[in-house]
């Protein structure tokens, strides 16, 4: 079994859903000892292919071959038996169980057998060593960092004799150094002769890591290249056109101070100082856990802080609740738009006016004419793609969902937007549009305080960067001083 027989091969695979063909005559080969990156915008068909290979969907047409033999997968267990494992962007671990229990969940034997903790723990240690994860097997999973959980998932896959591992957006919640650890593990899996599929929106990393790439668009393969390292070419394949300048800059920051934060302290914050001026976009860079999200939540009144001063437009401000902060002109876009932004069951319209219904009516009744006109305006100016204003927001793509959250704040007279990870899980085309909207907002006199783990995004968006480490602001850089090395150094080193 040399390199000539692919470990998994798709031949002419097609999958249709009502109204959309999610995979169109797809033929791809995945080889042992290779990392194969699967790239494409949201909705290009990557997840559909993953679900077909892992036995969740059955293809309407075409065949799947494992090691040269045609195979029919009826359920995920069939795929697992052939050595397929998926490491998801949404982790599938049970938070309250221990590391060891998670590793062997489903393999613990019949339900009447006795659970010998010591036994399993020692087996767990061996497995953890293969991914160089140094944690006690009896730790509950909820105490692990996202990066450690990711490694645990890999260990679990190895423990189940996986020979084909699919990584679906594995770096979404990892910091740059944690990504490096993950990449080292993926490379060592490749050395051991596993076939790896790597799916990510982070094109630079995907290209650096992969041996070959396949680009999907609208469910079909549009390009397959070996050894390509050029992001521009991939982006062109992905969207079928060249991207305009990614980060428009029509705004000019004024000197009027909008937000002033001084020595903010809480259980998670350790002294933060920063200012945001009118028409300015300030980014906060820092590792996950450095207190970035906590800072935004404290300013918005979601968490309490113990010490410190906040001033809005020069006057003292003590946030009491989101409602109170909103009335003072603040808006908050969470990193988790599904859990902390939208009400997925409700329509686009109801989500756009959520919390802002009162001005739309009288005596507690909502005027549907006024709601309609406000919503039409928002849908047009933000170019939200939805079949109707009543469409359930949960059915929209990530980019359009994010526009709905943004639109809600733009429809109010929000003066300062606090945004946590603005483009997480959003495809390239929609990102560019989102950046344009933020620039327009700032040019019209708004200000943004943005947390981002994506350094490219920070460098492109920010007029100024504040770096956080261990809950404190540790550095501040003007646009002229910003570059990848400076940022990374400030984020990671202990006091220069």
């Amino acid at each position: 079994m040399g390199d000539s027989t692919p470990f998994v091969e798709l031949r002419g695979v097609t999958k249709r859903f009502p109204g959309v063909t999610a995979a169109r005559d797809v033929s791809i080969s995945f080889f042992r000892g290779k990392v194969h990156a699967l790239l494409g915008e949201n909705g290009a068909g990557k997840s559909t292919l993953v679900k077909i290979i892992s036995g969740i969907y059955a293809p309407d047409d075409g065949q799947i071959f494992f090691e040269g033999h045609p195979v029919r997968l009826h359920a995920p267990v069939d795929a697992e038996r052939h050595g397929v494992a998926v490491v998801h962007q949404h982790r599938t671990l049970v938070n309250d169980l221990t590391v060891a229990e998670n590793l062997f969940l489903g393999q613990l034997g019949p339900c009447w057998s006795v659970f010998r903790r010591a036994n399993w723990n020692s087996r767990a240690k061996e497995l953890l060593a293969t991914v160089e994860l140094d944690v006690d097997p009896s730790t509950p999973v909820r105490d692990l960092s996202p990066a450690e959980q990711q490694l645990l998932e890999i260990a679990r896959a190895i423990g189940r004799n996986a020979r084909f591992i699919i990584f679906d957006e594995p770096t979404t919640s990892l910091t740059p150094p944690e990504c490096e650890v993950l990449f080292a593990q993926i490379r060592s899996l490749r050395e051991r002769g596993l076939a790896i599929v790597y799916i990510s929106h982070d094109l630079e990393h995907a290209l650096a890591l992969s041996d070959e790439i396949t680009v999907l668009r609208d469910g079909a393969v549009v390009a397959h290249e070996v050894g390509l390292k050029d992001v521009e070419t991939v982006v062109r394949h992905m969207i079928g056109r060249t991207l305009d300048a990614g980060y428009p800059r029509t705004r000019t920051a004024s000197n009027d101070e909008v937000l002033y934060v001084s020595d903010l302290r809480s259980s998670r914050l350790n002294g933060v100082d920063l200012q945001v001026r009118r028409s300015e976009i300030v980014c906060i860079a820092g590792l996950v856990g450095s207190g970035r999200t906590e800072l935004l939540r404290a300013i918005f009144g979601l968490d309490r802080f113990e010490v410190g001063d906040i001033r809005l437009k020069g006057s003292a401000f003590t946030p009491r609740s989101p409602r109170h902060s909103i009335d003072a002109g603040l808006g908050f876009v969470s990193e988790d738009r599904k859990q902390q932004g939208l009400v997925l069951e409700l329509g686009v319209s109801a989500n756009l006016v959520l919390g802002n219904e009162r001005p739309l009516g009288r005596l507690g009744f909502i005027s549907s004419a006024r709601e309609k006109s406000l919503v039409q305006n928002a849908i047009q100016s933000l170019r939200i793609k939805a079949s109707s204003p009543r469409t359930q927001v949960g059915t929209l793509s990530g980019g359009n969902q994010q526009k709905v959250v943004l639109g809600r704040w733009l429809a109010r007279s929000t003066q300062l937007l606090l945004i946590d990870e603005p483009t997480v899980g959003i495809d390239v085309g929609a990102r560019a549009e989102f950046y344009r909207l933020l620039d327009e907002y700032a040019a019209a006199g708004g200000s943004c305080l943005i947390v981002s783990s994506d350094l490219t995004e920070v460098l492109g968006l920010a007029d100024r960067v504040v770096v956080m480490r261990d809950g404190a602001s540790v550095a501040e850089m003007e646009r002229s001083e910003m570059n990848r090395e400076n940022l990374l150094r400030a984020m990671t080193t202990v006091a220069a």
Partner: protein, 330 residues
């Protein structure tokens, strides 16, 4: 040839499902079930589909419809209320006492009973909204507290002799229509308007759909819960007045198990037990299904113990159907 046939039948199956899904927003499934049950009963028992019997069903269903409308708001907001039956009993005995021993006139009695209902609802709402206790626990406790209060208040005996003018809402007839039916209709329309047209209604759906998102968007989450329980409580008070009128006496043991019927009506109407999805139209059909079944099976001479078995089975079947529908939309 055979494959094309299979594909075609698959296609119609899908469209039927999607039809069910679309109509569900207005309780379409429950309406269809109601119509089918009525048809079957009409065929089996000629007495069923007569105006006198149908008005009778309406009269009997009035209390359940009023309470279920309130329960719809509570379930849509992501909560539950297990204490509506006990609250109703307490309101009824207090009302009976005010009208007899207290000697109050009808309007003050009715007003005070509704106010008492609202107060009970407000207490539950405050505990849930600001003390942050789960509504299941708060209302489980209140179920016993309120029932105990009703029994203590009367020493366990019914309070009879309620004057006719107090009984009007449960007993009266206007132009051939039973007044309780009119009261229930007004409540239904009011709650339907509240849920679809008002800010509070929008907030009830939003809080039930996703409390965190709503909080961040500036929705007054705690007040929304508080008002939901207060309004539902006032409806319990109104339902108590109707029940008092029908029975002519305040019974501390009345309306036992009413909370379960009300929850069943809401769920039959297609609402999600987890909040955010459902409508008061569905609830109306759900409540009518329960009332029609009870009445029709009675007419058919079915043993009342068997009726219990059948009602329960229908509830489970309806939820099973709901699951199938949810599965197809995934």
């Amino acid at each position: 040839m055979s494959t094309s046939v299979v594909k075609e039948s698959k296609g119609t199956g899908l469209s039927l499902r999607s039809l069910l899904m679309k109509s569900d927003a207005f309780g379409g499934t429950a309406l269809a079930a109601l119509v089918i049950i009525c048809l079957v009963l009409t065929v089996l028992e000629p007495q069923f589909f007569t105006s006198s019997n149908l008005l009778n069903v309406g009269r009997q269903a009035a209390v359940l419809v009023i309470v279920s409308c309130g329960m719809t708001m509570i379930i849509l907001s992501g909560n539950i209320d297990l204490s509506v039956g006990s609250a109703l009993a307490l309101c009824a005995v207090v009302g009976a006492s005010l009208a007899t021993a207290g000697g109050l006139d009808a309007v003050s009695t009715i007003g005070l009973v509704i106010a008492l209902g609202a107060l009970i609802g407000a207490v539950k709402g405050a505990l849930i909204a600001w003390a942050g206790i789960n509504s299941f626990i708060v209302t489980l406790g209140m179920m016993t507290v309120l029932r105990g209060a009703a029994l203590t208040f009367t020493g366990g005996y019914p309070i009879a002799g309620v004057p006719d003018d107090v009984r009007y809402l449960g007993f009266g007839i206007v132009g051939g229509f039973p007044v309780p039916l009119i009261v229930a209709s007004v409540v239904f329309v009011a709650v339907a308007l509240l849920l679809s047209k008002t800010v509070l209604g929008r907030h009830i759906y939003a809080v039930g759909g996703n409390e965190t998102s709503s909080h961040i968007a500036g929705v007054p989450v705690a007040w929304t819960k508080f008002f939901t329980f207060t309004i539902s409580g006032a409806l319990c008070g109104l339902a108590a007045v109707v029940l008092l009128g029908r029975l002519g006496a305040g019974l501390p043991t009345s309306a036992q198990g009413l909370e379960l019927d009300a929850i069943a009506a809401v769920i039959l109407g297609g609402a999600s037990l987890f909040g955010g999805r459902g409508s008061v139209f569905g609830t109306l059909f759900g409540a009518l299904i329960l009332a029609v079944l009870q009445n029709g099976l009675n007419l058919l001479g079915v043993n009342s113990f068997i009726i219990q078995i059948l009602s329960g089975t229908i509830i489970i079947l309806a939820v099973l159907l709901d699951r199938v529908r949810a599965g197809s939309s995934r």
